[in-house]
Symmetry: C2
Subunit: 188 residues, 2 copies
């Protein structure tokens, strides 16, 4: 079975975007070679990227641009070339390279991909998808980077969850720039 992994950065108050869907708070400005190595190594992993419409459109505006290729060549190359799936009832086509648009039955599709795909699936951003799949117990791992900043307001990726969901901590890694990677599995 392929696994579904969430990889998101959150502020100390638990938001993965600010109120304007902006994720730039997560770009930790303090130089840290260890963090840079982690990001590059993470990007070298394979897998299928899963997105909701909002995050997909945000990423499409950045990663294919010359600015992205220049400032983050390794990550940009991977983001542009990896297979991607965007879930959206309203989009008509998805123009970013190597993207499949799925308009309906997200949960069934995910179940099917878990059974079929050899490669893990990674959700970036896409709070409403994280929330929906969390409620259905379809997430296998949460890789959360805690960013050393307070936002005060923002969006949570766990909106609409009405029951406590206990997790099992499986890994932590602290970086010089103050980012802390926290990895969890659902506790079954």
């Amino acid at each position: 079975m392929a696994r579904v992994i969430v990889f998101n950065s959150v502020s100390l108050d638990g938001y993965f975007t600010d109120m304007n869907a902006d994720m730039s708070f997560a770009h930790n400005a303090y130089p840290d070679a260890g963090w840079d190595a982690f990001v590059s190594s993470n990007a070298r992993g394979g897998g299928v990227l899963l997105f909701g419409r909002i995050t997909y459109e945000l990423m499409t505006k950045f990663w294919p641009t010359p600015a992205a290729l220049e400032s983050m060549p390794v990550v940009a190359e991977r983001m542009n070339n990896l297979p991607k799936v965007v879930f959206s009832k309203t989009m008509d086509k998805a123009s970013w390279n190597n993207t499949k648009l799925i308009k309906n039955n997200m949960e069934d599709e995910i179940q099917r991909m878990k059974k079929e795909a050899g490669e893990d699936m990674v959700i970036l951003g896409s709070g409403s998808i994280v929330s929906q799949l969390t409620r259905r117990g379809l997430i296998d791992e949460y890789q959360i980077v805690s960013i050393p900043v307070i936002l005060g307001k923002g969006r949570t990726m766990f909106e609409g969850i009405t029951e406590k969901i206990p997790l099992k901590l499986i890994k932590t890694q602290a970086f010089e720039n103050g980012n802390v990677l926290l990895c969890y599995e659902p506790r079954v």
Copy 2:
């Protein structure tokens, strides 16, 4: 100068209480001698405890009871005997042992105590006080225990903050039960 320290547990989605002001999600049910030792050692520290009304009233209902003394003797003894300050415009008296009630000018009082007191001040719970003092730059350290649970809804201790506040990570400690202590100072 005495320091003002926040010590709070938060869910993975950043809440320090659920929607009913209940903090019991933080009582990690997975046995961990290392965590128990940390809690007891933390309780043996000195200091002055600072509260808002809601947290104060919640704690008054628990710590002086025989149930608390039986289940958590070390922590209960310290909670009951340490000097406490409760900030509230509406309370008329504070009956828990060794409590001073301050009705007005919280920020001035905190400034005065920072200058006068030999001992550090520790805020437990009390989200509105954490938020207010954070906005005024009066918190010296945030000791946050990340609890391995998703709540979906709850209260944040950073409500009303409208500008990004960058922090400096100064310590992390992961426990077997999945709790992770994250300590931050304001980044000035």
